[in-house]
Symmetry: C2
Subunit: 440 residues, 2 copies
């Protein structure tokens, strides 16, 4: 019986779509179907992302995956496709302790030709006059353990993009080449079979070479879809498909929340948005504060900020989140009790600021090293583990999936711009990714 | 408020008890409580284990962890404590392909002074005259893809022990030193707090240093038990406690099944049990067949065999199994359709053999590298990932937990016999365990 498709890709988020695009482009004779349970592209965690990008990593792997992807995004937008991309920069504001522990990593990044500027406290104060840098003996800052600011580092090839526009770019390209997408179709399970079935009840037996032979789908698309290769790019839902067939999807979901604050009625917040001196669009860069990963993103086109911070301890891991994200909601108390006290300590203009909107999504965490992975197993290519930086590495990841499809685990991928990358570094069998050292 | 205990250990399996024993021995002034939901020691997966031990590993870490633990078990039994230990040896029977791919690993093990003998087909036939080594063109062996046998490797410092006796040795020693064990007590959750709480609803906030301050228990022991350090040694139930507080327990459970076959009515099976020439107890060693990890364990004292094989693909992973093992059962069809066809192909004396008893338990799989781990995090020491070889490394693991308690992640542990081991190799932050290469 011939297969229905050469390749079925589960997931129409950024990773599935980038994979679909590069697979179709380099294997035009192959029939490829993308399946997603939502009604359009990027309706899962891709759309809920903060969608920032940066190339400021010490890890060789992080650098090449992000830097080449960013180049592709920049050139794509330059060629006339609007990806909502703004090269606004990243500003890490640091305590004395962070600054001194970062010194060698900053030097390493500079040696690797990453565009990075540093500021001391005075230079920073000149650029951001309202930023509070010294806290003295105030009770609240002592209680919050708010550190004084000693300086900052600024990443130039960093900024933000629109994840839905980027996803649409890939899906349009994929469909233009003849690729198909089935929306509103839930892949309920993977079909565990054998390459040459005997037709005996209970296969695969232990003495057979088992493999995934397709997917079982319900929704607008129904029934069993047979494929030669199944690509698993379902993000935090990877385990839902893989646990039942005894393969670890190597991700756990961790909720992350975003809160918007409008600057419309507040001239001092408006002034903060239009900070000059960092980038050529005269907008406040993405600011990371020296406490709890608290960050401030200015969106000048909406006259608003997006705010968040990173809670690790006591923020649950989910092995398999619910199928929908309906119950994945932001918590007002998280803004009030965790984020806001830090935010207004450093930027007094946020005093009394209330969130206008809030939402939450899941990071797809690779809990071992927070680095992404691509590996082949039993008729599948499994990709994921973005760990909060999946979109900025999305183009490279799609190219690696394609290379593994064509050449197997030992593929050497040519990433955008011509740099080569050994896919096997990202496998688990022979994992050798360089861990990120600059984590502040 | 003073803590109830200095250390609370969750889990009275081999890992929890070995940890309890070594912690109490080296920290006699500290109060230590072990909590377990079952009614006695080793009532979870420890008791359901095959409980074999071997030191035949290429990985430096596997070797030192198992070899020093085995030495401790051997000397303990020599000193008069019955651990049910039999040094019956391990016999890997191999196909041509396995033999040739094993060559360099066998040499490496020999270089590392591991006692290992090799046999060619003829020598093997002389020792095991009933073993079928050549299959010709038979339909069934072609169907099953049963490979011909080319030779074997025999591990000398290998054998079996009684996991309940070993567990009792540790628990007796622990209690003799004043340690306490609470049975029939279920640790429902870890208490996520802060070292110096402010007493505000909702702590820990993101700007606080969160840590586990105790456990919440129901059963014979009730309520909140506060401890300075909580040791998580709950095996496949690690995630049940750790996922909710956002720390990955780094294990998934995979069911493994054991089937017994009696030799009582069968002289040829009896003869197989009393195979001579391998060890000084004249018993068939633990035999691993060259297909699907199918193995044969002879128990001369019961006049029976224990049989099993290893299914990877399509055997589900569980992130958190049920609290009891009541529904973790062996499947008769697994014996009949998967194990038996392989078994009787090689050992015709098993023709028509039916299982007398069967049971199942869970391997606590570290899905990244199948190696165990110990790491410190937020007031806890988390240990696990035995991946099917936890008992044989149990003594070393307990010593490492103790060293990490006393000296932190960077502890250098002195294992039994005096060899030293850097605990940090087994952490995740700085993981540097050597992966096992000899996997056949």
């Amino acid at each position: 019986m011939p297969n229905d498709y050469d390749i079925v890709i589960v997931g129409a988020g950024i990773l599935g779509l980038s994979s679909a695009y590069h697979l179709k482009k380099n294997n035009q004779g192959k029939s490829i179907l993308v399946i997603d349970r939502f009604g359009d592209v990027a309706q899962g965690n891709t759309a809920r992302s903060n969608a920032m990008f940066r190339n400021t990593f010490t890890s060789r792997d992080n650098l090449i995956l992000s830097d080449t992807s960013i180049d592709f995004y920049l050139d794509t937008q330059k060629s006339g496709v609007d990806l909502g991309l703004k090269k606004s920069g990243y500003l890490w504001i640091m305590s004395e302790k962070q600054l001194s522990s970062s010194e060698r990593y900053i030097q390493k990044m500079l040696d690797n030709k990453i565009e990075l500027r540093t500021y001391d406290r005075q230079e920073l104060k000149r650029l951001l006059p309202t930023l509070k840098t010294m806290f003295g003996e105030s009770d609240e800052s002592r209680l919050l353990k708010i550190p004084d600011i000693a300086g900052a580092a600024f990443g130039v090839k960093c900024g933000r993009l629109d994840p839905e526009k980027l996803s649409r770019f890939y899906s349009d390209g994929f469909r233009a080449l003849g690729g198909k997408i089935a929306f509103n179709s839930n892949v309920r399970s993977l079909i565990a079979g054998v390459k040459e079935p005997l037709g005996i009840e209970g296969e695969p037996f232990v003495w057979q070479e088992g493999r995934v032979t397709g997917v079982s789908v319900e929704g607008e698309l129904q029934g069993e879809i047979r494929a030669d290769t199944v690509v698993i790019a379902a993000g935090v839902w990877n385990n839902e498909l893989l646990d039942p067939i005894g393969i670890d999807g190597h991700v756990k979901a961790k909720k992350r929340q975003l809160f918007t604050v409008s600057a419309k009625q507040n001239p001092s917040l408006q002034a903060l948005i239009h900070t000059t001196g960092f980038n050529n669009i005269d907008v406040l860069p993405f600011v990371i504060l020296p406490k709890s990963g608290c960050y401030v993103k200015a969106l000048e086109e909406n006259n608003e900020f997006w705010l968040g911070c990173e809670d690790e301890f006591n923020r649950p891991y989910l092995n398999i989140p619910e199928k929908t994200l309906d119950n994945c909601k932001a918590e007002p108390s998280y803004y009030e009790q965790s984020l806001y006290p830090i935010l207004r300590s450093y930027f007094p203009e946020f005093e009394n600021a209330k969130p206008a909107q809030m939402w939450a999504g899941y990071y797809s965490m690779n809990t071992v090293d927070s680095m992404p992975f691509v590996f082949e197993e039993n008729g599948m290519i499994i990709a994921g583990g973005g760990s909060g930086s999946g979109i900025m590495k999305g183009d490279a990841m799609g190219r690696i999936v394609d290379a593994v499809y064509r050449e197997g685990d030992h593929a050497v991928t040519t990433l955008y711009g011509g740099r080569s990358y050994e896919a096997d570094r990202m496998s688990f069998k022979n994992r050798s990714v360089e861990r990120e050292e600059w984590v502040i």
